[in-house]
Amino acid sequence: MTANPVNQISTAESDTNDRPGPPLWLLAELTYRCPLHCAFCYNPIGFDQVKNEIDTDTWLKVLREARKLGSVQCGFSGGEPMLRDDLEVLVAEARQLGFYTNLLTSGVGLNEKRARGLKDAGLDHIQLSFQDSTRELNDFLSNTKTFGLKQKVAALIKDHDWPMVMNCVIHRLNIDVIDKIIDLALELGAETLELANTQYYSWAMLNRDQLLPSKKQIERAEKITAEYRERYSDRIRILFVVPDYYENRPKRCMNGWGNVFLTITPDGTALPCHTAKMLPELTFPNAKDQSIESIWYDSEAFNHFRGKSWMKEPCRSCPEQDDDLGGCRCQAYMMTGDPYAADPVCSKSPERHHVDQAIARATQLPAPNPQEHKLVFRDPKASGKLSEGRDGAAILLKR
């Protein structure tokens, strides 16, 4: 699936002090299996430890219970969701329950037959991810030969009359050819293009020194994007998501912990965010043994960082605490070792230097050369080695 599937949430907020609203957004991560090996993959480092995928009936139960609570957007993601051969069954049920159904795919496995099946099931939308626009760089970045296939898939999406949304993860190795990426999106007839800067979790965190672009690169890319936006405003909508390292306030992560967003991972574990499993001391409930309602409203894990009562200084007395709710718990934990700390992106955080050092390192490195990279690609072997057998392993960068 590649990108952070929640960049775009534009759902309503609920008051963080009252009983939370329903999980409007349900992300169904159907599998961690994936034929690609993206160096910026969002899946946990220990993804290969998760072997016991939940079955069709359990997924159907998840869909029904979440919809009953009021979930309305459903994303089918992974890994590569096309690898589940019950995808059509799940989409059909979701659509019939009244979900708006989104498929987030790299396009591998999406042939004419399955496209027709998904159309019949009522699938509303496919987001197709592209790693880059030039064959060489694309193959390098995803480490497999997939580019020609994506062109075919883009055509299938058009033929079946789905809205054509393309997503491309942006980083240091492709940001300088952003014009080519936009050209390609235009050529393929994309109506929306999300240029999502890499967010540094999991595999991307491992590879951060090589993926984080410099400020100059970002500014140039933003300028080019703005020019395209103006010139092609009637043909394409282009979103550019800036990496938060270059901001001085954190993002309101997931629009608040346990506020609108619910992820169910391949083994049924329920998370308030697809990276939250890395956090220490929390035990996340499983949809196999608990209802979505009790997971969402009653479980310790979903209440733990909900609202603001967990905060410590500088967040606790900060006048801006409602704007960002202290930022991302995973980012705080990865960089400071403390999941209760302010997101170190914040300039009020006493640990902001971790972010500044990362920027300095990335900016000092020589121009990246795809042939001599030191990227760690996401694959089962690396997963086993890095996670030491724990599926919730975190990459801690506290130095």
Binding site: I9, S10, T11, V72, Q73, G75, Y100, H125, P163
Partner: protein
Amino acid sequence: MASETIDKTGIVKISNGYRLQFEEAQDTWVLLYPEGMIKLNQSAAEILRRCDGERNIESVIELLEKDFEQTGLENDVVGFLSVALEQNWILIASA
């Protein structure tokens, strides 16, 4: 697109990829689209519900005036539909 004047004889429908739906849990009509949702207020919902791909804008206005026993809704409806068009929520096909 924003400055286009609306052709009242045009047939109006919800755009491809958008879906209008009543949400019980939120007790409100919403417009759903790829990875997003817009909560509609009551008048927006009543207008959009009548944009069924068969009626033109004139008859949408007529129907609203009849159903709500009011007159003079034209400006409000056209105003809202211009915004909706600008946001790509609807398509207007010239008759």
